[in-house]
Subunit: 227 residues, 6 copies
């Protein structure tokens, strides 16, 4: 493993220029504003595509950028979400899918999944997305279906996020926004889901589309009383 060269390069060349930042981070602790949930894929580097410095991005990565629903206690993703929302009080959560995702492609290659029973179980959390594609995308070719699956998968994980008690409470207070992103490896483009469910290209000259913006919710019961 020639990773030792990378480590040495970091220590001799990179760290000295960031020493003050790291010292400050060690003394003051971290205060990231954003939790990014992205794929373990080696080609999708969250800090690179958002140009985030150390201390800016709390990051949870797993195969398929999946967020199991709250009912599954004990999980690593649920814990990262809870820690980010309760302990760090982040204001934004981004779920970021990407092109050519091996986890999503596995749905189209069931034999390969047989040799990976854990991955197969894990992907159960993406099954609603796959069922949607099976039902509605029969007219597409496989590449298009995979792309559709990646996007539907981001959507379903945003749904899952909302049943985490800490997330639900924070959203109702208007202090937390949820984002659904797609990163295209070849073009470097990022698309962000808007409230309409559509994924729009992100560019500097227009506001960032936000799947579920932060907005204080009027209590539903009050509306009833008025009725």
């Amino acid at each position: 493993m020639d990773i030792i060269n990378g480590v040495s390069r970091f220590q001799s060349t990179v760290f000295p220029g960031q020493q003050d930042l790291f010292r400050k981070l060690a003394q003051d602790g971290q205060r990231p504003r954003t939790l990014m949930i992205s794929c373990a894929d080696s080609r999708v580097v969250p800090e690179l595509i958002t140009q985030s410095a150390p201390g800016e991005l709390f990051v949870c990565r797993n195969a398929g950028n999946i967020v199991p629903p709250f009912a599954m206690k004990n999980g690593g993703v649920s814990s990262a979400v809870e820690y980010a929302v309760v302990a760090l009080e982040v204001s934004d959560i981004v779920v970021c899918g990407h092109s050519d995702c091996g986890a999503m492609k596995a749905f189209f290659n069931p034999e390969a999944l047989e040799t990976m029973p854990n991955v197969k179980s894990w992907l159960a959390h993406s099954e609603p997305a796959f069922e949607v594609v099976k039902s509605c995308c029969g007219h597409m070719n496989e590449a298009e279906q995979i792309q559709a699956l990646v996007l539907e998968n981001v959507s379903i994980q945003l749904l899952h996020l909302q049943n985490h008690p800490s997330v639900a409470a924070r959203m109702a207070q208007g202090k937390l926004a949820l984002h659904g992103w797609f990163f295209d490896i070849e073009s470097g483009e990022i698309r962000a889901q808007g409230p309409d469910g559509v994924f729009h290209t992100v560019s500097n000259d227009k506001p960032l589309p936000v799947a579920i913006p932060a907005s204080r919710r009027v209590a539903r019961s009050l509306a009833v009383e008025a009725a």
Copy 2:
């Protein structure tokens, strides 16, 4: 969220210089040699401290750099491990702990944990490490105990890794090495566990210490036959 500026900066300034790399990665797929399991902490950026380019590091991040033992089907970490070993055939797995880890410090602050039930459940996978510290480190102050816990936690996660069938098989074939690392935020130093269990400072002029090096195992049954 001013992350949109970062994204724009990536697209306008950074991506153009890496366009060829990304195109190649999109067309050929990823072939990382290493799986890194590290904490979600915003101050620990795996690609930064190993100076890895996109495509080089398969990354799983969660609160506390934890690897549940294999018996827990359905999990995100187990899936990342399985995918890395079976589908990507990585040759090295690094479990990387770090100083000032919020997850490990939570053991010393049980009241705070009550507001984070998922995190509490998740940390059950680090309980053996905490029990060791409780039993053996009574003479240390709290800062030292936390440091000890971080290191013990890395050790127990390496133990967990070894009961994943895919990992066990690959190790027996001599094709997979396991690494236990510690990253010190303030100094930028990395320490790597050696086969003796001790964490040694990594430097360029000596070989990287490896907790469990890759080496083909002589089948235990043969040894018996000879007896």
Copy 3:
């Protein structure tokens, strides 16, 4: 148990008048168009408040009209949902909460819950609703908070429904609508949630508010392609 009198009355007085209906139902099987998920409470009789005849309403009842998210395999509610959608192809699912719900009131009486550990676990599926009420309804008195919880609970169960693969697929095809209702025991009124999240009184002279109406979804990926 004087229930035997009721059974006798049914057989001697009621059944003869419905004999043809029951014979037809026995021979042709059931073809209900609606699944109603309501509370086990003895005061909320689904067939009564909807004036449904035998064969018209597929009914799942449990304490708190709860729908665990899909990740919880093995469950009775998930099975009822799946059977209703896949085998019976119902076109509507109604989640019906009600006033004075003992399950929801239990959140405000934690000591009583200690004697009912199963109920306590089960109510975890309503926790996001309770967290919302705790966060946003501090200015209400307890009766108002309970009412708010009942409504938030209906909303979160509708969220859960949408991550069941069979439901997600059917909704994307535009063949399934989701309804959130509230039944007030004292007044006999029913309120139905509209797409705006507000619960409106149901009356004969205006269309039934529908939380998530049936409408074929434009595939998200297509929208991206056009971008």
Copy 4:
């Protein structure tokens, strides 16, 4: 959904005549004496076949009138049982199976079950009944086997009920009786299991057969002392 007509009919025609009952139920709360666990099937309406008024029957309905054993925390049926016994102190629990039950017939149609994974998992709680039928009913035709399975299934669910701590305690005190019923859709007949395990037709002129009558149990240990 023309259910809105039913709701309107209930409000304009039915409710006015029961207004006093509902007001009383709203103010005094519910005090049902019986918990009925029956199938979600639209043709089996518990309040109809027992001629129960609102407030008289606490009802849990799921596919196959199943009661998972106590070891399965978190479940909806266990919670309904616990709530009925501990909070409402019901004196009778009825498990009611029925003819032409889709859940039981699913055992004889394994392919269909493949499209309903939740139902398949759920039916594991009826497997002992199916194994009995497979072992002992080889001489019957399929219709007879299905009927046998429905009855065996009621028996096994009564067994499951008895390992719920709240039920076991209440039975030992002689304050709770368990009933196993079978409802025949075509004939409207109800058969009730007696202590001998046989299902007898219920009629007005003889006592209701009770599978496990309420009777204070002599402590087993005392018997030993005397020995």
Copy 5:
């Protein structure tokens, strides 16, 4: 550990006299007729109290001689039961409790249980027995209550056994009997539960009491047909 002396004594003194038996058992495989489920307690040696030779008793031992109900897949006891019934076709299963059982006494010492979270979870399978004792044995002193708990616990484990599909099928065929035993350490006495639920002293001059004797069951459905 001076266990090495015991092993040497076995090899030099005991084994030679049983060499033929062991050779036969190695070549023909095991054919035990009985599965005994007893406590891990060092004072309760199943082969000793039944004077069984090697090859005669299939033995499952755990803290509290517990049999979780079938719904708990993955367990060691369920597997031993299944293997004994399906692969070995044993004709008898004995659940054997004993006096002074540490697992049962733990119910009366909740603080000690806090240091043993696994034991606490495991004892959930005995909770129905404890609830019965709490409800019905208030007039006894603690020693009597513990004794009562041991007996009730045996009874509940026999109940659990009956919902294992393999056991249910075999019992219905009349090929499997279930036994509930109590071993008194001080007196060496064994008491066996009869069909009446009472534990009777076992002696050579009367038949062994059997909790649930093997007897082919008349199919319940046939009884209905005749009705």
Copy 6:
């Protein structure tokens, strides 16, 4: 069941000679120094092969002498381990495999496993051992592979033991040793794993090989400080 003869023989012939021992054990309680985890196989009698008297050996037996990793709460083996370590403070744990083990042979007969779903699930805890054999023992015949599997299985269960918090803490204190044994039914030989992983024949004239001897561990963090 002629087991009643054995019981009578025990009571009339054997017990009288051990009456004093049993009385003492009843009055003083048990104080075993060793927990033995062995197979349920009727041919492997722990007390016989170690020549242990009542009171000397705490015994957990299940199909395949398996120890699930700690993450599996609720289990019988984990509870026995915890009780032995925390309540009884044993100094040694022995995991004892054996020749001709039906559980291990089941890996080579997948069809038979289909009729035993619980056993199949249970054996997941031995899968890492099987994967090692599949990967590294292709050159062996099936008998040799089964033998290899038995030994690898003992090794993996020792690994599992070490992630139990109570075991980890006790080992770090230097108060607990772990042993891996193999019992050969035909020859009566016992082989014990040494620290090198090899299984050595046990004999009286040399020290017992110990897989993981008791030795107080120097805290890993101190080693780091010194670095």
